[in-house]
Symmetry: C2
Subunit: 321 residues, 2 copies
């Protein structure tokens, strides 16, 4: 949670004058999104979210993210719709930062997802893939396997400090994945969310009401997105796999889009890759976040525990298929 950049009421009023959405009547910084500053903005025309992009987001990527959300919304997938200013541009600048206003999405993020919510999330993920099927823009996955050796370099000691012997296990994961063919070359690809954690999904009761935070979206294997969700939605806090959550997530996904035989076969490896990606980025954040940072880093060991499960998984059946 964070609000890194303060927006004065005067700067906001001037910013809104370039839009056709009325004047501000309420404006509150919210604890949502780790990378950027977010505000709930109410104007005389309705409610919105105002995001200011901080330095970790590459401004060159922003037009892709905005176009993707516009495409998804136009194709019936519930996500925040970027609002165009009077000049037609949705990406503008405020307080020296790239800034965008998007429509407000109702719903709550589940802290302990239920099997029913996992089923709805799986369905929603497949609907996202379907809605993005004819999205023509391409963005490489900046956190794909090619990036992992660089993330891992010189961090073996940090890993062993967290858990003695962990570094050797991670070396084994990296070697196993390097020995396999890159999933983006062998499996059906498309536009994936790549970060659809419970924090980024909204529900009312058991109904999925939409997804937010598309700032890791990229072009990659569709089943890898499912593998990311299995990691994020189907593990207990103690590291145990929640078979019921996982089975429902996969079933929900397949109710919209059937997995191909090669995707099913690849699922344990994809899940291991997804866990490794989050382990590595969390290890970097854990090592590099100053003690006085406003945002506490996630503990990488949560994903070391998931990796332990994936190393022993034999087939998609172990995930509930």
């Amino acid at each position: 949670m964070a609000v890194y950049t303060t927006v004065t009421d005067a700067a906001l009023a001037s910013f809104l004058a370039d839009y056709d959405i009325g004047e501000a009547v309420s404006f509150k910084g919210i604890a949502e999104g780790v990378e950027n500053s977010n505000y709930v903005l109410e104007t005389t025309s309705g409610r919105y979210i105002l995001t200011l992009f901080e330095k970790r987001t590459d401004p060159a990527d922003l037009p892709y993210f905005i176009a993707l959300k516009q495409h998804l919304a136009a194709n019936g997938f519930a996500c925040p719709l970027p609002v165009q200013a009077k000049d037609g541009a949705a990406l503008r600048e405020l307080e020296g930062r790239p800034a965008v206003i998007v429509t407000f999405l109702s719903g709550l993020s589940p802290k302990n997802p239920t099997p029913k919510q996992c089923r709805a999330l799986g369905t929603g993920l497949a609907q996202l893939h379907a809605a993005a099927a004819d999205f023509e823009q391409v963005r490489a996955n900046a956190l794909g396997p090619a990036s992992w050796p660089g993330l891992w370099a010189n961090r073996a000691n940090a890993a062993d400090t967290l858990q003695p012997g962990l570094a050797a296990l991670i070396e084994g994961d990296l070697a196993a994945i390097a020995a396999a063919k890159p999933h983006s070359l062998t499996l059906p690809c498309g536009t994936i969310h790549a970060d659809l954690f419970p924090d980024n999904a909204f529900f009312i009761g058991d109904d999925f009401t939409g997804a937010i935070d598309f700032y890791f979206a990229c072009t990659d294997a569709l089943a890898y997105d499912l593998a990311i969700c299995l990691n994020a939605w189907a593990f207990e806090a103690n590291g145990d796999y929640n078979y019921s959550n996982g089975a429902n997530l996969i079933a929900g996904y397949q109710s919209v889009r059937s997995l191909a035989a090669e995707e099913i076969e690849a699922l344990p490896l994809l899940a291991r890759e997804a866990a490794l990606r989050f382990f590595l980025t969390r290890l970097v954040d854990w090592s590099e976040t100053p003690l006085d940072a406003m945002v506490k880093p996630h503990n990488p060991l949560d994903y070391a525990a998931r990796l332990a499960f994936h190393r022993t998984a034999c087939s998609a059946r172990d995930y509930g298929l």
Copy 2:
């Protein structure tokens, strides 16, 4: 800004079942209020703020704050109205914390208050005093002059570290104030907000739309509340007094309630006392806040600069009366 306590969606649903305000459709932690955790809560019946009280708030004081807001709202002063549960109680418990739901107040907090906003704020402050005039509950000011020697004890070095020579000046302020009669014994008293900073006041344009955060409210000299506001609203970032802001604030106040001769005479001393109170509590927070805290403490030197102005002020005319 802070959200200290996480509320699960399941705990929220169970909590809301005791109210008649419908079910949650949106719930976002907000960066508002330094002492407590605050959420914007939207239900099927409307918008609210949910506050969880953290350890710095004495639970024994909460019924006073809630009764005060109910009294003010009933007397037409715009402030968050505590919502009663089905059993009639507004103060309940959630995630192991005392918790209250209040109505949502529109408006934005000004970052650089204008003279017109200061006039409206002064008017609003006097209206608050008028609305509270027949509020019968009493709460001593826990941060009144009697508390200051204790806050100052053993902090001379901290002050001199911030600004060489500052400790001797603060000793002089404490001696001057101790030599005067306590303002709560010599001036008209009533219920005061005691923390009506721009963060705690809402405006739409130049119109004051209400006040929030009554958790320092107490029974004290009414003109002391005005002196607190002069400190909070009428100084530039560089420490200069903003005469236009101050004059408008006082004029707005007097448009509703005329200051008595003894209040006018006491104004420079009251302003000095108010500045000392905030200097001391900020000095304590500055010294005691761990480096990795989620909330950055205010710099006490902002109030050292205000004290320098107040020491040289001769009369209320120096403040714009």
